[in-house]
């Protein structure tokens, strides 16, 4: 006895063939549409970026409720940041924060938020712009000045400005106690020119005079001595160069030739990394590293 008739087998065969061709066409489509799907996803992500009209337009449309509009954009910024971004760079974050602070310059939170997060989104320049705007709006806010200094220090490697703003922050309300110490550290990194060593030494001298605790005095005194030592060694290296036509190959050479009596230990426990091509000394590396 036959299980199925011929035409039934034919129907089953045709059905299976149709199903296979559907599956194959789906697979072929998926393979061919990969770039299209990627482009579509990319476009939809870009479309999801918030639309931000110009500040003048927003001011006109606000009908006198500029602060409330700034608050709306602040909440939008939090939702935008909190929702996540597949490329982890939040391209509209800087513009959102600029818009909020242009609408309401006295709104403090966006400045703080921007100074902390924007450098990590490769938008350090926007962070600096916000920080400089904050200097006008909050002339006595040590925390915002401190954050601006850290952007210069850590992200832009602009040690001159970093030292300036650390020092400024240390005199303002609300600055972390490290501001003063970091000012000196930043000055130490300022392009190793000799005159900057003297500036750094003078700075540490003033820190010593204004220090309130013995610990702070000890730190300031150590850094002052460090700056003086490095200054003296670099001056000696230049004198060696004038006499012999080249910088000394090592610091010990200056002791051997009588330009210095000894190479002192670093009061702040830093390595004296001497560069014989430039005659400069790098003291950024701690001794125990």
């Amino acid at each position: 006895m036959k299980l199925l008739h011929t035409h039934q087998w034919q129907s089953i065969g045709v059905t299976i063939l149709v199903l296979i061709s559907i599956a194959c066409s789906q697979a072929v489509y998926d393979t061919s549409a990969q770039s299209y799907e990627a482009a579509k996803k990319d476009a939809s992500i870009k479309l999801a970026e918030p639309a931000i009209p110009s500040v003048d337009t927003l001011k006109i449309l606000s009908a006198g409720n500029i602060s409330a509009l700034a608050d709306y954009y602040w909440i939008s910024t939090i939702q935008y940041f909190g929702a996540g971004n597949p490329y982890q760079d939040y391209p509209s974050l800087g513009k959102l924060l600029q818009t909020i602070t242009d609408l309401d310059p006295k709104f403090e939170a966006p400045y703080e938020f921007g100074l902390i997060t924007l450098p990590f989104m490769h938008q350090a320049d926007t962070a600096v712009s916000l920080g400089l705007k904050a200097q006008d709006q909050f002339p006595n806010n040590g925390l915002l000045t401190y954050y601006l200094a850290t952007v210069y220090h850590l992200n832009l490697k602009d040690y001159t400005n970093a030292a300036f703003y650390y020092q400024k922050a240390s005199k303002q309300d609300g600055a972390p106690s490290a501001a003063l110490t970091l000012a000196g550290t930043a000055l130490d990194k300022v392009d190793k020119s000799t005159s900057d060593r003297l500036v750094a030494a003078a700075f540490w001298e003033s820190v010593y005079e204004n220090a309130k605790t013995d610990d702070q005095k000890d730190i300031a005194k150590s850094w002052y001595q460090q700056m003086q030592i490095v200054y003296s060694l670099e001056v000696a290296a230049r004198e060696y160069q004038v006499k012999f036509g080249h910088f000394p190959p090592t610091l010990q050479e200056m002791v051997t030739t009588g330009f210095v009596s000894a190479i002192p230990d670093s009061p702040v426990k830093r390595k004296m990394l001497y560069d014989p091509t430039t005659g400069k000394i790098d003291t950024s590396v701690p001794i125990d590293q």
Binding site: I60, A63, N65, D71, Y72, W74, I75
Partner: protein, 258 residues
């Protein structure tokens, strides 16, 4: 010679009663209450800026809804009086057109006060349980809102006296937005435009109603002291402008056949 207030009071009371009976008014008030209440929710998602957001968004909601409500009731009320020929009955009696206009205006002010009491009162009551420190600044801002919307009512009444209510509403809303945008437009013209545009905007700046004069919300928000002189001139400006628009409305009504 005693000044007879009774015609003004009669018209004012009648206007107030007529508008308070409008069911649509209560619908709009309910929506306004819900939107104002949403400011409490927005405060919770504002990342440690709850007081600020609560104050800003709550006051903005109250202000905008009050403006919207009063434009709507003013234009409709005047239109109904004209359309139903109510004025045919009034003017033969010893009620002059100026008494009608001024009485109407005071009636609308009473509706405004009631609206602000309802919206502002509920908002302040809710603030008692949330953040009491902003109650005083909120109350002061509501007082300035009363003055600002009082001027809006005058302008809406003027437009409603010679055009249809939809047109009158649109003109009033347009003038309200322009009135708030005048300082921004003036600054924009100074930065980007030629001398002719700047002069034109200067003229508009001084002639059109400048609603920014009544905006003390930033001072309340940041607890800045406002000089008494500034408050005085803002109130003076508002009262003078209201007198001007009410007078213009009287002139229009005198010319109008009702």
């Amino acid at each position: 010679m005693r000044f007879d207030f009774s015609p003004y009071l009669v018209i004012a009371r009648s206007t107030f009663r007529e508008i308070i009976r409008e069911r649509l008014l209560y619908g709009i008030l309910l929506v306004a209450t819900l939107v104002t209440a949403s400011s409490f929710f927005m405060a919770t998602i504002s990342f440690d800026q709850s007081s600020r957001v609560l104050e800003n968004v709550g006051l903005a909601s109250i202000q905008l809804f009050t403006v919207f409500i009063m434009i709507f009731v003013t234009t409709n009320s005047v239109y109904k009086d004209l359309e139903r020929r109510v004025l045919y009955l009034l003017f033969p009696k010893p009620i002059s057109r100026s008494e009608y206009v001024i009485g109407k205006y005071f009636g609308l002010l009473m509706v405004l006060a009631t609206t602000l009491l309802i919206l502002g009162g509920m908002y302040i009551l809710a603030l008692i349980g949330f953040d009491r420190t902003i109650i005083t600044p909120v109350f002061s801002v509501l007082c300035y809102t009363f003055l600002e919307v009082g001027l809006v009512i005058g302008i809406a009444q003027l437009f409603a006296s010679f055009t249809a209510p939809l047109n009158a509403s649109l003109y009033t809303i347009g003038l309200y937005i322009i009135g708030h945008a005048l300082p921004t437009l003036k600054q924009f013209a100074e930065r980007n435009s030629g001398a002719a545009t700047q002069h034109l905007l200067d003229v508009c700046y001084y002639i059109l109603p400048n609603f920014e004069k009544f905006d003390f919300k930033p001072a309340a928000l940041y607890r800045l002291p406002v000089p008494g002189q500034q408050v005085f001139w803002a109130i003076f400006y508002g009262v003078i402008y209201i007198c001007v628009v009410v007078y213009l409305t009287i002139l229009v009504m005198r010319k109008r056949e009702v």
